[in-house]
């Protein structure tokens, strides 16, 4: 799983959402902030390893 970019998102009321936008294997996906989700689990593994940073929402 190659993750090249991750950023938080806000909803239509400007509130943080329960997903991040991640580019995984070249595809942009909305990944839920669920530790049991395999994509989010891998994102957090790489964040904790210091090899990936989650950007703030636009």
């Amino acid at each position: 799983m190659i993750i090249t970019a991750v950023r938080h998102t806000t909803d239509f009321m400007g509130q943080p959402t329960n997903t991040v936008i991640a580019t995984i294997d070249g595809e942009e996906l909305f990944v839920p902030l669920d530790p049991s989700n395999r994509h989010y689990s891998e994102i957090m593994r790489q964040v904790e390893a210091g090899t990936l940073t989650i950007q703030e929402a636009d």
Partner: protein
């Protein structure tokens, strides 16, 4: 098999705790293929097909292959999983691996009683066929406790269906977590570099030592070989029983806990929620293992998911009451695989 033998086996099954729902494997008859019947493999990574079965490929350089739901099958089965090498790996480097595997939630493995004095043996049975004869490895890998056990089997005749049964010992060390996360891999090895093969095959449960996991494994990807599987069963005890067939609808529902998709032409239409936003929403067909990663395409508009969870999907698009555009989904898939 004599009636007496069948009755004795049935008695053993009862002693081991189940006359139905024996099979821990989901989609062992390879009936369900929601992602389509064929997936091209062009690089290392994870590829799913048929449902719940995954090709796990690491570090390969040249390998190209297809992973598909095949109609080549032994009597009594309509489908099989087929892994077909279309471009061989010219040199098998030390870190390269190719596996066909299924992953289990810990809460579905509690009946094994692993990590207790009552730990159970488990027996795998399956039909296999390959153009490449030789020794293959089947492994159970406990990811909660980093423990594993491997057993070998032999494909004796090329291009011939063969039925195999393999019993794995019990393990009184290392309980599986009782939750919805990954606890165990069930792995058919097709190729492994020397990092995985240079030791002594570990045939009893032990802390994982990489070099002892896949010793003796033939190299399926050395040339344009194929490898078929079906009738895959994993059950408690030291006896393999006949494959536990189940209705397609039952298997489909089990698979949908991990993944589902919809490519039908008539889908979900967005409805007005507030003055300036429309929402589309639906419930998942079954409660999913975790909040899924959605992949949704829409006829038009830029939608964003909103408060999604393991029971429903919802997304919104900026659109006023007076907007004459019709917004609807054209395809979607939800991925909560382990």
């Amino acid at each position: 098999m004599s009636k007496a033998r069948q009755l004795a086996d049935l008695g053993n099954v009862y002693d081991d705790g189940a006359l139905s729902n024996r099979n821990l494997i989901i989609n062992g008859a390879m009936q369900v293929a929601q992602r389509g019947t064929s997936t091209s493999i062009t690089a290392a990574g994870s590829y799913f097909s048929p449902d719940r079965f995954e090709a796990g490929i690491t570090a390969t350089d040249q390998l190209a292959a297809t992973l598909s739901q095949s109609t080549t099958s032994p009597d009594g089965f309509a489908n099989s999983l087929k892994f077909e090498v279309t471009t061989a790996e010219t040199t098998l480097d030390a870190d390269e691996i190719v596996t066909i595997r299924q992953k289990f939630e810990g809460q579905d493995l509690q009946r094994i009683a692993k990590g207790t004095s009552s730990a159970e043996q488990v027996t795998a049975s399956f039909w296999v066929r390959s153009s490449n004869t030789g020794t293959y490895i089947l492994e159970l890998y406990d990811s909660d406790n980093t423990r594993q056990v491997s057993k070998s089997y032999t494909v004796n005749s090329a291009n011939t269906w063969e039925y195999k049964t393999i019993t794995f010992p019990s393990d009184a060390t290392g309980a599986f977590d009782n939750d919805n996360n990954l606890s165990m891999f069930f792995m058919f090895w097709l190729a492994a570099g020397s990092n995985y093969t240079s030791g002594t095959l570990n045939t009893s449960w032990a802390s994982a030592t990489t070099a002892n996991r896949v010793v003796g494994q033939t190299n399926l990807i050395a040339s344009t070989n194929d490898f078929y599987l079906t009738g895959v069963q994993l059950e408690i005890g030291d006896t393999s029983t006949p494959f536990e067939h189940e209705p397609y609808s039952v298997t489909l529902q089990k698979c949908q806990r991990y993944y589902y998709s919809n490519t039908s032409t008539s889908q979900f239409y967005a409805t007005q929620y507030v003055d300036t936003y429309k929402f589309v929403q639906w419930g998942h067909p079954v409660r999913m293992r975790a909040t899924p990663t959605p992949t949704v395409t829409y006829f038009t508009g830029s939608f964003s998911p909103y408060q999604i969870d393991d029971q429903h999907f919802k997304a919104y698009v900026a659109s006023s009451y007076t907007d004459g555009t019709t917004y609807y989904t054209t395809s979607y898939a939800m991925d909560a695989e382990l």
